[in-house]
Subunit: 184 residues, 2 copies
């Protein structure tokens, strides 16, 4: 059951990325798995349920990143933990973030759900701190854009995770003046 579910989610993500969510039907997912549409319905009642299940693991990881960052006392450490965590997520879930960014239907669905909206706000609050000035707001917005598009650019598709992670981290640290070491 666990295996069937994870195979279904992997097939769905693959189809979503190739055809968009609106261009993917439950029948296409069933065909991809070599099962009947009824078998897909047995596990998920709608395409929206499948989209939610596809993104759920990344959401849980993002929540853990927010928890870890908020637990830091110093501003540099909060920024460092949040940025390292988000970079790691973006690198390991490149396809997923590309889908969320480029598929308008997924973007709307994801952003309309309280868990993700709340999570985005928590990460943003860590990045800007309380009562941010204009420079901090601009830099924080730029970091979001820089990380999202980095997962989409076809010129980066050939880079291995470790290389991409290292350069993304170095640059977002530079953008926000973050020191690399934990402050003690």
């Amino acid at each position: 059951m666990g295996t069937a579910r994870s195979r279904l989610l992997a097939a769905a993500l693959d189809l979503f990325m190739r055809h968009g969510v609106s261009g993917t039907s439950l029948q296409m997912i069933a065909d991809e798995l070599g099962v009947t549409k009824a078998a897909v319905y047995h596990q998920f009642h709608s395409k929206e349920d499948i989209v939610e299940a596809v993104i759920a693991p990344a959401l849980a990881e993002l929540e853990a990143v927010a928890d870890a960052a908020e637990a830091q006392r110093r501003r540099n450490d909060r920024l460092r933990v949040a940025l390292e965590g988000v970079v790691d997520l973006v690198v390991r879930h490149r396809g997923l973030f590309a889908m969320i960014m480029t598929d308008p239907q997924v973007g709307r669905l994801v952003r309309s759900r309280p868990p993700l909206r709340g999570l985005e706000e928590r990460i943003e609050a860590v990045l800007t701190g309380p009562e941010p000035d204009a420079e901090t707001l601009v830099n924080s917005a730029m970091v979001s854009g820089a990380l999202m598009v980095a997962g989409l650019d076809p010129r980066l598709a050939g880079l291995d995770d470790e290389t991409l992670r290292r350069h993304l981290t170095a640059t977002v640290f530079r953008m926000l003046h973050v020191r690399r070491r934990a402050t003690s």
Copy 2:
């Protein structure tokens, strides 16, 4: 005639930003201007023609930026001129870039046209230089994302052009290790 045309384009951009291109009809543009749909047809034969006319001035400016950057001999000056020019464009045409980024129909239309695709490639070539390594590719992709999303973030909507321009420029310079002064 010139005035009627520019009023039509301003009304169209406003409607595109509020309703999306696919949600805007020629009739809506006519209503907004208080003219008949025939009067709109007299100037533009399709919505695509209007979209092209709306983005044409920014494209011409982007071409001038590419020309000016390519005319610099030193790498630091090429980067500096390209980044200052693109930042200025993004700041002055915030609404337009938001539309290009968020409206899938506009994005497809814009990117399918040779002039813009060629321009994007020219700017990218200036940013990365010949035979870029992984770090340069990652940073260049991040700059694109950082500048695009900066024009979209609602938290930045209240910033005046000069403030936004100053912070965007400082941060993209830092991302790409660009020195502020012309090299002599």
